[in-house]
Symmetry: C2
Subunit: 151 residues, 2 copies
């Protein structure tokens, strides 16, 4: 079991790579599209061909969800990773059926929470890459991490 | 069928409410959690009770995905709504089993794309409310809309 991390374990410049990667299938793209982003280019290959994306493409929110899973797998925060907001998120290239996604996370900042003395806020930059090492998503996300309990 | 909107149809101050709302179930929270955000407070009521959230809570990325569906249903962009990035997204309250989510969208800005003459960029503020009219998510998101073809 990976070590549980507390606020004090994070530092600026720290990097964390995803453990393994996530393969994205046409089936997952269509299933997510039907549920959450029902637009032709997320549902059907032929409709995708005639669209902005020139082919079936993953909803950006599916990519974001996959990135969240990779993040949870690679950073084991004590008590869980509590999102404290997205400062920026960009979808820089479409994610296609068969793509394999991995992430690299860098800590940009750490600060004590002003509203909760028992938590700190960790500011991170995430880059998500496909199998050609092209960036498909980049984001700046803050999460909470608990202050280490006094011994 | 709703009218298809082109870039010229958007203007600062325009508001669009979601058509209906989305009820969030414990089943959907757990299913999404298992797939994309496998942390105890998204998977299990008892584990949720002993967590930051004091109960089962939806992954913020599930809330974001539901908000995307409401957005797609309420704004019919010609050719589809192409995300051009998130400027900010905050989860202001947990989303719980049984909550019903609706959205209000306001156009903050419109500008021609500098890289693609056939598209404009629409900057929007989204507020997502629960059934008590409490804001559970707010975001600033940009999307592309095609310039209306010449007659």
């Amino acid at each position: 079991m990976p070590q549980e991390l507390y606020f004090e374990d994070f530092y600026v410049g720290q990097t964390m790579n995803s453990i393994g990667s996530a393969k994205v299938t046409a089936e997952e793209i269509k299933e997510f599209g039907q549920k959450y982003d029902p637009q032709p280019f997320h549902l059907d290959e032929a409709a995708g061909e005639n669209s902005f994306f020139k082919g079936l493409a993953a909803s950006g929110w599916l990519t974001a969800a996959i990135v969240m899973r990779l993040r949870v797998q690679s950073i084991t925060v004590a008590g869980g990773m509590i999102g404290a907001g997205v400062e920026e998120m960009r979808w820089t290239l479409p994610v296609r059926p068969g793509d394999t996604i991995r992430t690299e996370i860098e800590v940009l900042g750490v600060r004590q929470s002003s509203s909760r003395a028992d938590y700190g806020i960790v500011r991170t930059r995430t880059l998500a890459f496909n199998q050609r090492n092209e960036v498909v998503l980049r984001s700046t996300v803050n999460f909470l991490a608990p202050v280490r309990p006094k011994a």
